[in-house]
């Protein structure tokens, strides 16, 4: 199992600014994932962050908009850059151990005004 601490839990940001979300895991994991959940919707994968390599982005998401860092096996950050109201969502980090349960942080609720 894994316990994931994500912060901030929520924020209200001005358009055009950037926000960095932190994700700390209580154990070493190879794969970390970042998801976006728009209001009333399901989860959409943004990217996979593996330590020691560039993040892999899903279709529709680009590094310039969502830069990701993965400095070690227990930590990752996701930055939402040059925000617009359309970026208002819940952002969640997740870890998995391959073919078993995935664990999620509690999410960061972002509102862009």
């Amino acid at each position: 199992s894994a316990v994931i601490s994500q912060k901030p839990s929520r924020d209200i940001c001005q358009r055009g600014t950037s926000l960095t979300i932190q994700c700390q895991v209580d154990s070493q994991v190879t794969m970390m994932f970042w998801y976006r959940q728009q209001p009333g919707q399901s989860l959409t994968l943004i990217a996979t962050a593996n330590q020691g390599s560039e993040a892999t982005y899903e279709s529709g998401f680009v590094i310039d908009k969502f830069p990701i860092s993965r400095p070690n096996l227990t930590f990752s950050t996701l930055t939402v850059s040059n925000m617009s109201p359309e970026d208002s969502s819940i952002y969640l980090c997740s870890v998995g151990f391959g073919n078993t349960e995935a664990f999620f942080g509690q999410g960061t609720r972002l509102t862009v005004v």
């Binding site: 994932f33 399901s42 994968l45 998995g96 349960e101 999620f104 509690q106």
Partner: protein, 110 residues
């Protein structure tokens, strides 16, 4: 196009009623997971189904995996207000990424 389609999208029922949520795909998958997400929290795993035709019970929740491994259902007996939440089916692709279904939002009224 959503790989996993869930129905219904939204369900509002009275406490004590039964309900079924469906997860369908045009593709065969090796296993399927069901998660529940409560407001302000991340999704939490309820069950993983692996074998075609498999039925798993978790207290009042019954999960079924279709014989052809292209569909699954979640049945809740005598729903309680604590069952309120977003129910998500998900499959893991070859890169260990979880792909989620469209979700079913359940509201159980007291």
């Amino acid at each position: 196009t959503q790989l996993l389609e869930q129905s219904p999208q939204f369900l509002s029922i009275q406490e004590g009623e039964n309900l079924t949520v469906y997860c369908n795909s045009s593709s065969v998958f090796s296993s399927l997971q069901w998660y529940r997400q409560e407001p302000g929290e991340g999704p939490v795993l309820l069950v993983t189904v692996v074998t075609g035709g498999e039925v798993k019970k978790l207290k009042r929740l019954t999960f079924q995996f279709g014989d052809a491994r292209k569909d699954s259902s979640l049945h809740i007996t005598a729903a309680q207000t604590g069952d309120t939440g977003l129910y998500l089916c998900a499959l893991e692709d070859s890169s260990y990424k979880l792909i989620f279904g469209s979700g079913t939002r359940l509201l159980v009224r007291p």
